[in-house]
């Protein structure tokens, strides 16, 4: 165990910043999904890192739940991308003007 807790926290902050940048700048729906994944992974890294240094098993359990819920979120997000692409023939979120099915 060579690295300290604050190193992992700083890596997590860097990933959070990159994810926020992606969510703010990109207009491609798939890229925004990438950014959401990066933010979720930063949160998981924080959970496991703090759980290691307490130490407690609760953080790892919560990280496992979080990974599984993220899988569900990606499945729904990708199917939304497919529906939107079928309706608009595009993946630019600025073109998605209507919520009508």
């Amino acid at each position: 165990m060579a690295a300290e807790l604050v190193d992992f926290a700083l890596v997590s902050v860097a990933l959070l910043g990159i994810g926020i940048y992606g969510l703010a700048v990109k207009r491609n729906f798939i890229r925004m999904l990438f950014a959401v994944e990066i933010v979720i992974n930063a949160a998981n890294l924080n959970l496991v890192a703090f759980a290691r240094f307490i130490p407690d098993s609760g953080g790892q359990t919560l990280a496992l739940f979080s990974i599984a819920i993220a899988a569900a979120e990606v499945a729904v997000g990708l199917s939304l991308i497919i529906v939107a692409y079928r309706m608009y023939q595009n993946v630019d979120v600025a073109d998605f003007r209507s919520l009508r099915g």
Partner: protein
């Protein structure tokens, strides 16, 4: 701080996160995203959490990244390479990223967690399994139902109904 494994993993993870957002092709972007997710799994291994690391590899790198790759392949070819953003928005995004990184990083560096190290034994994965079955079993059942519901919802959403204007080629 001078742990070469940690430094290498940080460079791989953060570099491929930037690459996933900035590479021109979405296919290469999703492969770079796989690098980020695998780097996070490496961090979990460094943190003595092999169970979570393998779960991460199986769920993220094994299924989510491949799912994203297949979705990218469904999109038209010129959309994969098109970059849609304007310069001012990009500058504002970089400013926002810097503000988040600097403020949160300063908070972390200034707080009491700096210098915390541990020499306690890591949590055994058998303990996690016992937690799942003994304390968190209602949450486990609820999570299973949520996963089943989300997969069903995804299938219903992506079902094809417009056969009249699709044509024979698909």
């Amino acid at each position: 701080m001078a742990d070469p494994v940690f430094l290498g993993l940080s460079v791989i993870t953060i570099g491929s996160a930037i690459a996933a957002l900035e590479l021109r092709s979405l296919v290469y972007g999703s492969i770079a995203l796989m690098g980020t997710l695998g780097g996070i799994a490496g961090f979990f291994l460094l943190l003595d959490a092999p169970f979570v690391a393998l779960f991460q590899l199986a769920v993220y790198v094994g299924s989510i990244a491949v799912l994203i790759l297949f979705t990218v392949m469904l999109v038209r070819r010129e959309l994969i390479f098109k970059k849609i953003e304007d310069g001012r928005r990009r500058l504002a995004g970089i400013g926002l990223m810097m503000a988040v990184m600097i403020s949160l990083g300063a908070v972390f560096l200034d707080s009491g967690i700096k210098g915390i190290e541990t020499d306690e034994p890591p949590v055994d994965f058998r303990e996690i399994g016992a937690d799942f079955v003994v304390y968190y079993w209602p949450a486990l059942v609820a999570m299973a139902l949520v996963l089943a519901g989300s997969v069903t919802g995804a299938l219903v959403l992506a079902r094809r109904e417009d056969t009249e204007n699709g044509g024979g080629t698909g």
